[in-house]
């Protein structure tokens, strides 16, 4: 982090080398075309410079084979690059099954992170090395963007929905976390630190000094009681609201006739704007929690609801 004339960023995740490979391929292609074109421009400018004011060069109409060649070759090259880029993007999109979940909330102008074991931190993210990590991102206010240059990944943090991203750090160390989407006055102050630790050290760090010793699921369960959710959502089908046990990840038939998947975004909307997606057979009686609970609390409740399905 203290090189004063850097030319290339550190590689600290499984993606870094792949993205750099693609980048260097593009650099080579660009240099080839740029040098080629500039070479011919200079060559022609010198070789065919005007020697007399009345020179009238012979016209050349054009050449179909040449036109085809310099349309089709760039086309093929760009399709190759497109497929490589899209393929890699696909792999960067899907988190592997063994990824651990960490939750991040952006707000003007700080990052609030909570680990599922309950540890919370601000503007810092501790992660274990060689372990896939899946981040769920939410925003309290405007659009932010979670950007770790050394990992070559970035995802916008959009209010009103969850975005997810994942990475696997490969090098122990400290790296920058930037907010990449302009978010107001202190946008450039929204810089944080990613601390990649050895697995054992991470476990020590995680268990050390947790306030209250609550995991996210426990915190969610507590909120679930405190906010009075449990009065309607009982662990049976007798409540005024749907039974939430085993609900997560299942398709839900809502009153408009559509089927939606009960994922994080669905649960979030159901908490904050409950009348929008009423499940068939229930009355729209749930009050909205918009503005009453923070995004972090919503995340805790969701991980609690999620845990109700995990146990089975």
């Amino acid at each position: 982090m203290s090189d004063y004339f850097p030319l290339f960023p550190e590689q600290a995740s499984t993606f870094a080398a792949k993205v750099d490979g693609l980048f260097l391929l593009l650099v080579c292609l660009s240099v080839f075309f740029a040098v080629g074109v500039v070479f011919f421009i200079i060559l022609f400018s010198v070789k065919y410079r005007r020697r007399s004011e009345d020179e009238r060069p012979k016209p050349i109409e054009g050449s179909l084979p040449l036109e085809l060649a310099w349309s089709i070759i760039p086309l093929i090259l760009s399709l190759v690059v497109f497929s490589l880029g899209a393929g890699l993007a696909f792999r960067m999109y899907r988190a592997p099954a063994n990824a651990i979940d960490i939750y991040a909330v952006g707000k003007q102008w700080m990052w609030k992170i909570q680990h599922s074991q309950g540890k919370r931190e601000i503007n810092e993210l501790h992660v274990p090395v060689n372990q896939p990590v899946r981040l769920t991102l939410a925003s309290e206010d405007v659009i932010h963007s979670f950007f770790i240059p050394a990992f070559r990944i970035k995802k916008d943090v959009v209010p009103g929905r969850y975005n997810t991203m994942w990475f696997e750090a490969t090098e122990v160390g400290e790296y920058y976390l930037f907010c990449a989407e302009y978010c107001g006055t202190q946008h450039s102050g929204m810089i944080g630190r990613i601390v990649v630790m050895k697995q054992e050290e991470f476990q020590d760090w995680l268990s050390g000094g947790v306030a209250g010793g609550e995991t996210m699921v426990e915190a969610g369960a507590r909120q679930f009681q405190q906010l009075g959710c449990a009065t309607c959502h009982k662990e049976s089908d007798q409540g005024r609201g749907p039974n939430l046990v085993g609900l997560f990840g299942t398709p839900r038939q809502i009153t408009t006739g559509e089927t939606v998947l009960a994922d994080e975004n669905y649960l979030r909307t159901s908490i904050l704007d409950p009348r929008s997606q009423i499940v068939g057979g229930y009355q729209p009686i749930m009050p909205t929690f918009q503005g009453q609970v923070s995004e972090e609390t919503v995340m805790q409740i969701i991980s609690y609801i999620q845990s109700l399905s995990d146990s089975e």
Binding site: R94, A97, G249, L261
Partner: protein, 93 residues
């Protein structure tokens, strides 16, 4: 001729309102929009004289509609395919 056109337009308006009272399931929406498209086409072709105009003006008249359709198509492909990418894998199933 304008009388015939305006008559058809009134008729189609009545049809579309009446059709709303008939339960056709998923067909109600396409029917209503289809009738609207038909009415618009009648207005464009006859009231706006495109029927008697040069092919170039057909292109001009269609360009805007065509571009709106492109816009809608590329816009909706995002919204409609967003659910595909919810990883159904791992903990969900």
């Amino acid at each position: 001729m304008y009388v015939t056109i305006v008559g058809s337009l009134f008729f189609l308006t009545i049809v579309t309102v009446l059709a709303a009272f008939v339960e056709l399931g998923v067909l109600n929406t396409p029917l209503a929009l289809g009738i609207a498209l038909l009415k618009a086409t009648l207005v464009v072709l006859f009231f706006m004289h495109v029927r008697y105009n040069t092919p170039l003006m057909w292109v001009f008249a269609a360009a805007g509609f065509f571009m709106v359709l492109i816009f809608l198509a590329l816009l909706m492909q995002d919204y409609m395919s967003r659910d595909w990418e919810r990883p159904p894998a791992e903990f969900l199933l």
